[in-house]
């Protein structure tokens, strides 16, 4: 596939943003993943952190010790022949989930909005391969791409002040999982007991950009939870 040219724009004086596309699509995600891999393996001086987003890679550097012009030129030459062919495939991660009930208080509202039965919502959601577009919002929070169009729904008009840890929620064409209790404006359809973020692990996030998430419905919640502990 012919690759569109990348652009580099500064985000203040301590970050360069490499833009690899303008819309969320599989080709852009591939290019972001390839660029992230190349830059992480690079030894360009001054870089202190690298973070992929949906369409960009943010390259954070030490502004007191880095010539931004030279760094930008280094990035351009490094990414000139971006090769997405040799990319390692993302991990497939199964996430057990209890849909509906107290664990998914918005499932009925989502079903009503879609004009489908709650069972059909569950079937569609669990049958989808959800690709991690990026980690953001909170440590370990995955933005999962690929929500079927039939399930698309605007954010709640009033965000909840507290969404419990492990809540699986949807908005627009995305699914998210809340690693910790936090405020949230997405529709909560279920809950998992997988730990999404553990600061004592390296890396601390269960998921990373490019991984594929499959939700596995759990029927007998207490037993299943006990077994996994």
């Amino acid at each position: 596939m012919a690759s569109s040219p990348l652009t580099i724009e500064p985000l203040g004086d301590a970050c360069l943003v490499v833009r690899l596309g303008t819309t969320i699509d599989p080709a852009t995600s591939q290019r972001v993943a390839a660029a992230t891999t190349s830059l992480a393996a690079a030894t360009l001086p001054g870089i202190v952190d690298i973070a992929p987003t949906f369409t960009t890679v943010a390259v954070v550097f030490d502004p007191a010790r880095t010539d931004v012009g030279r760094l930008g030129a280094g990035i351009v030459s490094m990414l000139a022949d971006l090769d997405t062919a040799t990319l390692p495939a993302g991990n497939i991660v199964e996430i057990p989930i209890v849909y509906g009930g107290d664990d998914g208080p918005d499932l009925a509202a989502v079903a009503a909005h879609a004009g489908l039965d709650p069972e059909e919502i569950v079937r569609l959601h669990a049958a989808t391969d959800h690709v991690v577009g990026m980690i953001g919002f909170a440590p370990g929070f995955p933005y999962l791409l690929g929500l079927p169009a039939a399930l698309s729904i605007p954010r709640r008009s009033t965000p909840r002040t507290r969404v419990p840890a492990g809540s699986v929620a949807i908005a627009e064409r995305q699914t998210g999982i809340y690693p910790r209790d936090s405020p949230g404006g997405w529709h909560v359809i279920g809950r998992t007991d997988r730990v999404l973020f553990d600061p004592l692990k390296s890396p601390p996030s269960l998921l990373r950009a490019g991984d594929v998430v499959r939700f596995v419905p759990v029927v007998d919640a207490p037993t299943a939870r006990g077994m996994r502990r």
């Binding site: 004086d13 007191a64 931004v68 980690i135």
Partner: protein, 336 residues
Amino acid sequence: MTMVEVVAPGMLTTVQDPGRTGWRASGVGPGGAIDTVSHRLANLLVGNPEDAAAFEITLSGPRLRFLAASWVALTGATIDATVVTHDGRSSRVPGWHPFWVPAEATLACDAFAIAGCRATLAIAGGLDVPIVLGGRGTDIRSGFGGFRGRPLKTGDRVPIGVSRRSPPADPARVVIEPRSVANDLRSVPHGATGPAEDAMTIRVLPGPEFADFPISTRSAFFTVPFTVTPDSDRSGCRLSGGPLEAPRMTLSEAVMAGTIQVPPSGHPIVLAADHPVTGGYPRIAVVATIDLPRLGQARPGARLRFIEIGLDQARSLLTQRERTIRTVAAGLEHLR
């Protein structure tokens, strides 16, 4: 092991260091001290490596009982501080100078800050808390790092590392060193008395969405004064003013400390150390790294104005300040 015991925690006192790098892809931002320059200088004043962990005090500090004698320095916000020795004698101690706290003495910096918002309290030897994800700073929201992943509470006993400085001739008395650091490195100017100062001028670079804002908004951004609101915290400095007319953004994008986002309300938010790594509001500008420490000293009620500088100027200002800090560090070399 040497410790300090928390008699009273203050408004919000946390263990901080220069912050974490390398974990943005896991959603972990930098965290760390908001006023990094005051943090580094406080450490240098007590003979620590400049990246040692120290307390970050917010507006009103803690009362700490020193189980063992220590060299201490208080930088950043101007806070009246007193050391009361075990025989009941009390001594005022100044900011920006190292002072010696005898064993069993209590350091009280719980008066409300006279100027500025955040002070660094460094203790010789550094705060000896575990390293988590490469840093000792407290991530309050996610509850890890620092002292048990949370702000200080009464009764906490925080371990102190081994000091490289030798004690003064009479270790039973409070000693104040005459040596300090140049006034131009102080994020809170000497003699500043409160929030009613003239509007602070904060230097910014245009943000990625700057050109997407209407021309009138772009011009308003650089002319109207903004006021820091009380809901500001370690994740962001919230401003009222304008309000600015904001374009819609479709995708969340990378953000940094200093990124100025404009949400639909039109009241800008300047992200600070504990910011999430991505944000979905248009980024009108980004505060130059040189001014992040001063911005961190803007307390609720403070007024700000933004002016634009270029990348070259931003870098040369930083290089110059690094030189000054190196000179200060060399001058304090005898403390180490």
